[in-house]
């Protein structure tokens, strides 16, 4: 026993195992994250090689893919030369260039995972997966099901295994057939070690075996692990522990082995002829991975360099033009989201007198939101933040319509008989209408239904009101001022307020889209940003809040008013909140601006449409917009919008400097004024959000793109909804975390490049202040370039320090007529400078 303990510590192994498993929450809480988060403590390329050799993932594009990009000019020979010189030295330049371009490599993906457990099939001819998986998946999904099954799992409060024990003991025939397993299940002392001893035998293989077992169905293992850690991600709570799940699976395995091999079989370790390699052991150098790494960097830096060349030019333009707003006509705050990139550009082009800002889309309002009639509250702020406040909605209308086609009666005997003969014919009509004339239906998800615009929000805390669920209802003026100070200072907006300042959150609409949460605002935990924008506007409009802000150096003129709004990125529609509170002059300004907004959204829709096939992008913007709107309502449209596809950049700095840069919707834009932040205080806040949110989005897209089979969810077309928590293929498939193919078709797998406008010393100091954030940059999961605003020099962050970077690419072209380009090009566009 003592020996066993030394080799196998249950607690430690489970902890490690959980760390490696996919960490995607149930669908309703879908949030982007780094798919290979378990390897984040390692430098990027090293991590990728390790992940590939452990689990058999494809982690880069294939060599033919890179070479094709090279011939297409998407990878510059000069960049390859430069990288080889840097990494291998001038002497090896020729040799390595040849390796990249010509050498044949064995690129077979082999993996360590699964080898040990596969011995059951090789040595004893028992296909455990075939026996165990269907039962395991079916029972787990029945237990966790959130509302598909009409006859619910007869569970007990005390947990998964306890429920099974009772079900098994009281049913005539149970899940298990082996009497030994029945006994083991009923025995409360049964534990992992004991079961592993039966199956594996030698304790030194336990860990390896558990890994093999869990990674034969990473989807379910990951889901159970997440549900143990975040039970709140199910509305209808389920008590389940990862340990119980493993015990259940091991029992199923013993049951299967008992059936195939009789009562008298030996544990696996006794029949092993060779010792399997330690799973998490060291990885050997492989030249092909270095070649991959060089190609990947060359691909990335070819594009980055183009962007940086453009950025340099943009800086000089900015200096020449020296534009300064005394007081802008109006201002608008947007989410950092890459989808705002083109919206802002189009708005600025149509209204040269306006000024836009970008920041994380919760607008520094970290809250739970409880809609009226709702039985739960929803978190609307970045995932790692735990809010202390609750905002309640009152006086709101009902926004939940029913659709009889989802009704349980249709699955009944008599009910089904009646339904199919009546509603059945109605279905035919609905189907035809839905396919030929898509329109709004109860089945769709609409961002505007997140909150009712005519309802009221409890933003202001009423003294004496009791806390609910441990949360304070509303904010005190002091608290409001704190939040808003953070918001305004971090984006550098402390003076020159325009009379009307829009705060524009965003959300998305779609139908037939299981991954709908991933389309909404990431900074609002996969919800629409309407409550946050409305609350922020409300706070900033409060007299007492402004007074406090005044004492902190932010003087908001009396005639300035803030207006919350929600931009639906799929339909390109916008909705404004509390318009009735506007003053007379602002009211007319608002009405005047409506036309600008409409035209902006038309143009934005048209710009997006170039990526949508089957649309005539040459048509008039308003007409194209109508077609784009239909996408969100179309049952048959697997891509209501492209979401974050093609994201590559994150610009942190003043908008005036980068507004002349055409970045083709590939950039997250965060406003930041280095002049207000000499010690990097606000920058730290920004980077702390940018790394996990933008970096997480970027890496999830990266990995889902390079290996859509194993790191993504595969094609969504055959997906089957499981228990409302996940999707699987067909009836017996494992859950599929990651992004479906339809989200990443056009994504080019490039890591995120963050460009910060600040002095390198300040940035370095800031980064090092937070180890978690620093890890992202130091290990190269996110690339970083800093432009020193004083000298206009650029520095690249490499191996923990900044080194000067000189641009290689030619100056980008100047684009006069964007429209022509949009109408003719459907591929990714190069960087341009634009006259705004």
């Amino acid at each position: 026993m003592l020996v066993e303990k030394m080799v196998f510590s249950e607690h430690e192994v489970l902890h490690q195992l959980k760390h490696y498993l996919p960490a995607q929450a149930p669908l309703k809480d879908f949030i982007h994250h780094n798919t290979l988060h378990a390897f984040q403590h390692l430098p990027f390329h090293e991590a990728l090689q390790q992940a590939s050799e452990l689990f058999g993932y494809q982690v880069y594009l294939s060599l033919p893919d890179y070479r094709e990009r090279y011939t297409q000019g998407k990878i510059r020979p000069e960049m390859i030369a430069r990288l080889i010189r840097e990494k291998k030295g001038q002497v090896l330049l020729e040799e390595w260039t040849l390796k990249l371009l010509k050498k044949e490599y064995d690129t077979t993906l082999s993996s360590r995972i699964g080898a040990l457990r596969a011995s059951w099939k090789e040595l004893a001819h028992v296909n455990l997966n075939k026996d165990v998986h269907p039962v395991l998946f079916r029972v787990s999904s029945a237990y966790l099901d959130q509302g598909i099954a009409l006859w619910k799992f007869p569970r007990l409060e005390s947990g998964f295994l306890a429920s099974l024990v009772r079900l098994e003991s009281k049913a005539v025939r149970g899940v298990f057939r082996s009497s030994r397993v029945k006994k083991l299940l009923a025995d409360p002392d049964t534990n992992l070690t004991q079961l592993l001893k039966i199956i594996v035998g030698d304790p030194q293989y336990y860990k390896n075996y558990l890994f093999d077992m869990c990674f034969s169905h990473p989807g379910w293992s990951g889901m159970i692990s997440i549900l143990e850690d975040q039970p709140d991600s199910l509305l209808d709570k389920r008590n389940i522990q990862f340990r119980e799940f493993l015990i259940f699976e091991l029992l199923l395995e013993i049951d299967s082995l008992d059936r195939h091999l009789g009562d008298d079989w030996k544990p696996l370790s006794e029949s092993l002829s060779e010792v399997p390699p330690p799973l998490l052991g060291p990885i050997e150098y492989a030249e092909v991975f270095e070649v991959y790494a060089l190609w990947q960097e060359a691909l990335e830096w070819t594009y980055y360099d183009e962007v940086l060349a453009g950025f340099q030019k943009a800086i000089s333009w900015h200096k020449q033009k020296g534009e300064k707003f005394e007081r802008a006509d109006f201002q608008a705050l947007f989410c950092i989201d890459d989808r705002s990139c083109s919206t802002r550009r189009n708005l600025e082009a149509l209204a040269p007198g306006c000024q836009t800002f970008g920041t994380a889309g919760h607008f520094n309002v970290a809250i739970y939101f409880q809609p009226e009639h709702g039985k739960f509250s929803t978190k609307v702020c970045p995932a790692p933040v735990t809010p202390k406040y609750l905002i309640k909605e009152t006086e709101a209308g009902i926004r939940h319509k029913k659709d009889a086609h989802f009704h349980r009666h249709s699955h009944g005997l008599v009910g089904g008989w009646i339904v199919s003969q009546t509603l059945g014919f109605w279905s035919a009509i609905k189907m035809a209408v839905g396919i030929f004339r898509p329109s709004e239906s109860p089945a769709m998800v609409s961002s505007f239904k997140h909150m009712d615009r005519s309802g009221k929000l409890s933003v202001r805390h009423v003294a004496g009101e009791m806390n609910e669920k441990g949360l304070q209802v509303g904010f005190t003026p002091e608290e409001m001022a704190d939040q808003m100070e953070g918001l305004l200072k971090s984006i550098g907006l402390i003076a020159n307020f325009a009379p009307l300042v829009y705060i524009v959150g965003h959300g998305a609409s779609s139908i037939n889209n299981t991954h709908y949460a991933g389309y909404d605002c990431g900074a609002c935990s996969g919800r629409a940003g309407s409550v946050n924008s409305r609350v922020a506007a409300y706070m900033l409009n409060q007299k007492d809040v402004r007074e406090i802000l005044g004492t902190r150096g932010i003087n908001i003129p009396e005639d300035t008013q803030f207006l919350g709004a929600l931009h639906d990125t799929t339909r390109d529609e916008i909705e404004f909140y509390d318009v009735e509170s506007l003053s007379g002059s602002n009211s007319s300004l608002y009405v005047e601006n409506m036309l600008i907004w409409e035209e902006t959204l038309d143009k934005n829709a048209k710009e997006r449409s170039r990526r949508f096939l089957l649309h005539d992008s040459k048509d008039e913007a308003a007409r194209v917009h109508e077609e784009v709107k239909l996408r969100a309502l179309s049952l048959f449209e697997p891509r209501p919008e492209w979401n974050h596809a093609t994201n590559t950049l994150c610009l942190i700095g003043r908008r005036e400097v980068n507004k002349h840069l055409f970045l083709d919707r590939r950039a997250f834009l965060n406003s930041y004024d280095y002049r207000l932040d000499p010690d990097g205080h606000w920058l730290l806040g920004i980077l702390k959000a940018v790394a996990p949110v933008c970096g997480g989005i970027n890496l999830e897209y990266y990995f889902s793109r390079v290996d859509n089979y194993r790191l993504g969810a595969g094609s969504k077309l055959p997906h089957n909804v499981v228990g409302l928590i996940g999707v699987a293929n067909g009836m017996d498939g494992d859950l599929r975390p990651g992004l479906p193919m339809q989200m990443i078709n056009i994504h080019e797998p490039l890591r995120l490049l963050v460009i910060v406008e600040q002095q390198p010393e300040v940035v370095l100091k800031t980064l090092k202040a937070d180890t978690t954030t620093y890890e992202w940059f130091k290990n190269g999961w996110v690339n970083l370039v800093v432009t020193d605003p004083e000298t206009d020099r650029m520095y690249r962050f490499m191996d923990g320090e900044f080194e000067p970077y000189s641009v290689q690419s030619d100056e980008p072209g100047v684009l006069d007529k964007l429209d022509d380009l949009i109408e003719t090009e459907s591929e990714s566009l190069p960087v341009y400078l634009i006259n705004v």
């Binding site: 294939s62 086609h405 008989w417 003969q421 089945a443 067909g730 599929r736």
Partner: protein, 625 residues
């Protein structure tokens, strides 16, 4: 006369669309989807127009002899069409649903790697559907029936790079084929009942049917049971139900059209079509009703515990089809037709919007959640309830039952002839067959009592070879050749019955020989190209590197299994006309051999060419995905 052309166009339009779609480049998405859309659209208009006119004219059922494919004194093979209200309903519902689905899929499948393959298969299915619906005799129906099976296989295995779809495609195809035994035997028995290719229209001739059945009530029940078996397999009734949820592997619209609406209702169609034949046999009606009733109840229970949306819809649909069986048994033909149409529309729509269930139900839960009251009571009722819950969760062990009692027993039988190996194959087979031939040429030497058993004996050898082929795990070549050989034994067996013209033998063996040779060449080529990944132990996914070879092999396999693209198909029917009505075992052996050889051939195709690619220089899906 013009009616004839109209009816023919219902088959020719889809055929034309299908053939055209084969020649369009895979990159040309727009043309591919347009061809499908217009093919089905024209069909829908024609069907609607013709039906209205037909109803206007009084709605008289009629039969049309379209083409005579083979005509000799003692045997004729006719393509025959029949048009009545059953045809009308199936024709219009089919065209309507397919029309919507083609439009839907044009967008839904955009950028999908198998875009062309999908539309080819959908059009092929549409052709098969119309052929079956319009069929005026069993021969014609069987052509459509066979095509349905193949198109179903291709659509389930649409994601052919994954393991589960391929495995399930083979499974579903197998059950379909098992059901076909029923049709084959029914055809054989009917031949003997009337000594002619009976058309469905003549079944309505009460005197004709009644007179015959009076004298042969046993054979009447036998035929009815065969038909019921075929119908149960096709419509996922007991004990075959578990295939339907497993068929939901293709893109959602294809699942909707196949397993939600059209394909799965063919069992009902077969019963409706043959209704006049069995309606006066009370026992049969009771059996149909009971089968429907038990399926309806059990599938209803299974549907209630399903926690995934597509399996829930599948079982709910099976349950309704069970009720349709009851309706048919009770003689409520119109009600059943009405029920069919409603159920088809409802399930298609439910499947199409199935991804929406997540946001819809979660929102519903968010606004209306009531915590469930957990019961700790341990009454007898509760215990019973829990037992039924578990039993339903395990699908009443239906899947296990099928694989254990059906497929595993075939494999066990195949193992009995394991002494046949590639090395001794010719040494054993050629002398054995020569001996058989010698016996045939020198029948006078054989004692008369023995002669009577020889056909059964030889066909049994053929059947055992097929079993062996089915259980072969190592040598694709052997599995292939065994099936090939078995056809020769069948010919030999039947030849003993009476003078079997050489031209008949030629007819029967034409497709077999050609397909066999092409298949052998394809296998040799594959073995040369992929020596390390060439056996039947697992799936190799060679289609990834050798798509053309895979297609050639598939066509060869279709030829070999008597698919209606070669004369073998007619020969097959001809063979049956030579089996005497007393040779019950011979008919059974031949039918089973015929059906199983098809399964075995598709198994070879699936194992070699489909599934996760054995070479992993590119990303491949995990087995459990």
């Amino acid at each position: 006369m013009e009616t004839k052309y109209f009816i023919a166009s219902f088959v020719l339009v889809p055929l034309f669309g299908f053939l055209t779609s084969l020649f369009i480049s895979a990159k040309n998405e727009v043309t591919l989807s347009k061809i499908s859309f217009y093919t089905v659209g024209i069909q829908l208009l024609l069907a609607l127009g013709f039906s209205v006119k037909w109803l206007w004219d009084g709605g008289e059922s009629f039969n049309i002899k379209e083409v005579s494919i083979y005509d000799s004194e003692e045997y004729r093979f006719l393509i025959d069409f029949y048009f009545d209200k059953i045809t009308v309903v199936y024709l219009i519902v089919g065209a309507f649903v397919s029309f919507l689905i083609t439009r839907y899929s044009a967008y839904y499948l955009h950028m999908e790697a198998g875009y062309k393959r999908f539309f080819n298969t959908i059009l092929f299915f549409f052709l098969a559907y119309n052929f079956t619906v319009l069929a005026g005799n069993f021969e014609t129906l069987f052509i459509g029936w066979e095509m349905l099976g193949i198109s179903s296989f291709l659509l389930i295995a649409f994601y052919r790079e994954r393991y589960l779809p391929v495995r399930n495609a083979v499974k579903v195809f197998s059950i379909y084929r098992i059901g076909d035994v029923g049709i084959l035997l029914a055809m054989w028995a009917m031949h003997h009942l009337w000594h002619d290719n009976i058309t469905f229209s003549r079944l309505y001739d009460y005197d004709l049917v009644h007179e015959q059945l009076q004298g042969h009530s046993g054979i009447g029940i036998f035929i009815s049971l065969c038909l019921l078996g075929a119908a149960a397999a096709k419509s996922a009734q007991l004990p075959f139900s578990s295939w339907l949820p497993r068929a939901m592997e293709g893109p959602t619209p294809s699942s909707a059209i196949f397993y939600g609406s059209l394909s799965v209702h063919f069992g009902v169609f077969l019963l409706l079509r043959t209704h006049p034949f069995w309606e006066h046999q009370l026992v049969v009606r009771i059996l149909i009703g009971l089968l429907g009733l038990s399926t309806a109840i059990i599938a209803f229970l299974i549907a209630r515990v399903q926690s995934t949306i597509k399996t829930q819809i599948a079982y709910a649909s099976i349950s309704q089809i069970g009720i349709m069986f009851i309706e048919v048994a009770l003689g409520f033909e119109t009600l059943a037709l009405f029920h069919f149409a409603g159920n088809a529309f409802l399930r298609t729509y439910q499947l199409l919007v199935s991804p929406s269930v997540v946001s819809y139900m979660i929102r519903d839960q968010f606004y209306h959640f009531e915590p469930e009251e957990l019961s700790y009571k341990d009454t007898l009722f509760r215990r019973l309830q829990r037992s039924f819950y578990l039993l339903s969760l395990k699908e009443w062990n239906l899947d296990r039952f099928l694989s254990k009692y059906l497929f595993r027993s075939f494999k066990v039988l195949g193992k009995k002839v394991d002494f046949i190996t590639p090395k001794n194959f010719f040494k054993v087979m050629i002398p054995a067959y020569l001996l058989g031939l010698a016996a045939y040429w020198n029948q006078s030497w054989i004692p008369f009592w023995l002669l009577g058993y020889l056909p059964e004996f030889f066909s049994f050898i053929g059947l055992m070879l097929v079993f062996k082929s089915f259980s072969e795990r190592k040598h694709p070549w052997l599995a292939w050749t065994l099936v090939w050989m078995s056809h020769f034994w069948v010919v030999l067996a039947v030849s003993f019955n009476e003078k079997f013209a050489f031209s008949h033998t030629l007819l029967y063996l034409s497709g077999v020989v050609i397909g066999g040779i092409i298949g052998i060449i394809a296998l040799k080529r594959l073995k040369k190209l992929e020596p390390d990944w060439y056996n039947l132990n697992t799936y190799y996914g060679h289609v990834y590197e050798h798509p053309a070879l895979a297609n050639i092999f598939l066509i060869a396999a279709l030829c070999m299994m008597g698919f209606p693209i070669t004369a073998t198909f007619v020969g097959e029917d001809l063979i049956y006309s030579h089996i005497h009505s007393t040779q019950f075992f011979l008919a059974n052996f031949i039918s089973l051999g015929y059906v199983l050889s098809g399964i075995s051939l598709m198994r070879i195709y699936a194992r070699l060419f489909l599934g996760p690619h054995c070479k992993t220089y590119h990303s491949t899906p995990l087995g459990s995905s």
